[in-house]
């Protein structure tokens, strides 16, 4: 693509982008689903029918009814209230999981790609080592060292997400460091730090945003899996995976205890996956269809 055509595209970019967003069903539905999860998480205390922690053994294990739309658990806690507050927890998991891994992975990847040579070899070697671990196995190793808790689980998730961001940032940097405006910045005397973080990083945001959206779904799934195994959020935290695990004890007696939190997981992950697909189509030129 020539410089001129890039400029033309950019000039005509805004109306085109608007039409594209409207045309893309993925962006619309994915965005809507994610917006619902985010909104529920934010307004949880105001829309929740009850406290997610308040117990009342008198109404334990009730089937879904008008008073308790998703029923109650063995302590008489309202399942809907716990799912609503679970959305808040999932958002926190995503924010911390994506945040921690991107804060470590992206600068490491940019430095690796920018300097190349020995630095790149060592960083790539280290990323390859982390990459060789299946995510949940690495998370189990980290949790076994730090102990089972919500925060330690998030550290574990961040550790296995670091190489994803590292490799992506490295590849984008490799491409961007040869681009004319980066060379121009260098020629004007800009320091390496400035070139890396204000020219290269700023222009690699699109693929990083796509990655963050796609990994949000993975984070929700992994966090739920670890909590289900009893190695993440501990009772009585209203975490979706832990709630499914609790419902496991009442299989055949009261399925709704596992059913609804599991549906919540699928809804949230589906939303992030569809939105991620849509964003990739929109932002990543390799997936653009004319």
């Amino acid at each position: 693509m020539s410089v001129t055509s890039t400029r033309q595209d950019r000039r005509a970019g805004r109306p085109r982008m608007g039409r594209k967003i409207l045309r893309q069903k993925n962006l619309f539905f994915g965005g809507l689903m994610v917006a619902i999860v985010v909104l529920v998480g934010i307004v949880a205390p105001w829309i929740s029918p009850a406290s997610p922690y308040s117990q009342n053994l008198g109404i334990a294990l009730q089937a879904p009814s008008v008073a308790h739309l998703f029923g109650t658990d063995q302590y008489g806690r309202d399942v809907l209230a716990r799912i609503i507050f679970g959305a808040r927890l999932s958002l926190m998991e995503i924010a911390l999981g994506v945040g921690m891994s991107a804060v470590v992975g992206v600068p490491v990847g940019v430095v690796s790609g920018y300097y190349g040579g020995r630095v790149d070899q060592i960083i790539t070697w280290f990323l390859d080592i982390l990459f060789a671990f299946p995510g949940i196995v690495l998370a189990l190793l980290v949790v076994s060292i730090l102990g089972a808790s919500l925060f330690n689980m998030l550290i574990a998730i961040a550790v296995f997400s670091v190489p994803v961001y590292g490799r992506l940032a490295r590849n984008v940097t490799l491409a961007l460091k040869e681009v004319e405006y980066t060379e121009a910045a260098r020629a004007l005397g800009a320091r390496a730090g400035r070139v890396m973080f204000s020219h290269i990083l700023r222009n690699s945001l699109a693929p990083l945003i796509v990655q963050a959206t796609l990994s949000a779904g993975t984070i929700v799934l992994t966090a739920a899996s670890l909590s289900f195994l009893g190695l993440g959020a501990q009772p009585p935290t209203p975490e979706w995976g832990a709630m499914v695990s609790n419902g496991r004890n009442f299989l055949g007696v009261d399925t709704s205890l596992s059913l609804f939190p599991g549906l919540a997981i699928t809804f949230a992950v589906l939303g992030f996956n569809i939105l991620g697909d849509g964003l990739r189509d929109l932002l990543d030129p390799r997936f653009r269809s004319g």
């Binding site: 280290f126 671990f133 060292i145 195994l229 596992s258 589906l270």
Partner: protein, 306 residues
């Protein structure tokens, strides 16, 4: 090609060394004194000290790492703190269960994924295509432990068609295979569809069609064969994900495999098992990735071996 394979092969020991060092030193940070754990809670101090010397924990850390590597290379991965059995025996006892489950799940994923993906691609933009893609994205977004519980509830608890827990005859494989295989099946279906769509619009497919060949032959022999590379990549590189999924699936179904062994070991801080099992899992993944790289290089001569 040989240079490429050799280059890849030479890079392997470096990654293996790094992985083993990471696991070894990570496990050494574990809270609790391994000698005390091994000797038992009521053992007197002298026994604990003797155990420490026997386990080599009194030696410098790098000497311990060296000896760990040396013994691991000879198949000695230490002794389980919980069962007092050698780690390699524990792993060997459970390995066949995980292997059989993983193979069944892979087979399920490949057969359903490729079939659904090909059918979706040749019926592009029809209701069938949309349905397959919708199911695939749902499959990739569903927590496998939840799916397992729901399937157990329907087919084992209510209908009584399939056994609820444990390993045994073929009926025991149905639910765990479906649970473990759904995620890779969804990935394979999506990849097969997009890969087939790229190939189907090529000139040589049009030529084959206009020669009067039956569409089934064209799709199978001309299109699918050329669409295979990304599919092989997805299938091969997903081995790690499958092994990770086995951890959860085996726990839900009380399947006596390696995944459950790992979860139990983490819960009881049985560090020799965690160390040995993690090392073996990662080595399997690294080797599988190496083989996938080679297979891709063989089936796609366009890949430059730089």
């Amino acid at each position: 090609m040989t240079t490429y394979a050799l280059k890849k092969l030479l890079a392997l020991p470096l990654v293996v060394l790094g992985v083993s060092a990471l696991i070894f030193f990570a496990v050494r940070i574990l809270p609790g004194d391994p000698a005390k754990l091994m000797a038992g809670p009521k053992a007197p101090q002298s026994v604990v000290e003797a155990m420490r010397v026997r386990m080599g924990l009194d030696r410098p850390l790098w000497v311990q790492y060296e000896s760990f590597l040396w013994r691991a290379l000879h198949g000695d991965l230490g002794t389980s703190i919980r069962s007092h059995k050698p780690v390699d025996t524990e792993i060997a006892e459970r390995f066949p269960y995980t292997l059989r489950l993983a193979l069944a799940a892979y087979l399920f994923a490949i057969v359903t994924g490729i079939t659904a993906g090909v059918l979706a691609a040749i019926n592009q933009k029809t209701w069938f295509d949309s349905a397959v893609m919708f199911l695939a994205i749902i499959g990739a977004s569903t927590a496998n432990f939840w799916l397992a519980l729901m399937a157990m509830n329907i087919f084992a608890v209510h209908l009584g068609w399939l056994p609820l827990l444990g390993a045994g005859g073929w009926k025991h494989y149905v639910l765990p295979t479906f649970t473990l295989g759904l995620f890779p099946a969804a990935l394979v279906a999506r990849m097969t569809r997009s890969s087939m769509l790229e190939v189907i619009n090529q000139d040589y497919i049009r030529t084959a069609m206009s020669k009067g060949l039956r569409p089934a032959v064209v799709y199978r022999k001309h299109a699918l064969r050329n669409a295979l590379i990304p599919i092989v990549t997805v299938v091969g590189l997903n081995l790690g994900g499958l092994l990770g999924g086995a951890v959860v699936t085996e726990t839900v179904f009380n399947w006596p495999g390696l995944g459950r062994l790992l979860v139990n070991a983490v819960q009881f801080r049985d560090y020799p098992i965690i160390q040995g099992l993690t090392l073996l899992t990662v080595l399997t993944v690294v080797l599988a990735n190496f083989v996938v790289d080679l297979v891709i290089a063989v089936i796609n001569p366009r890949i430059r071996y730089d």
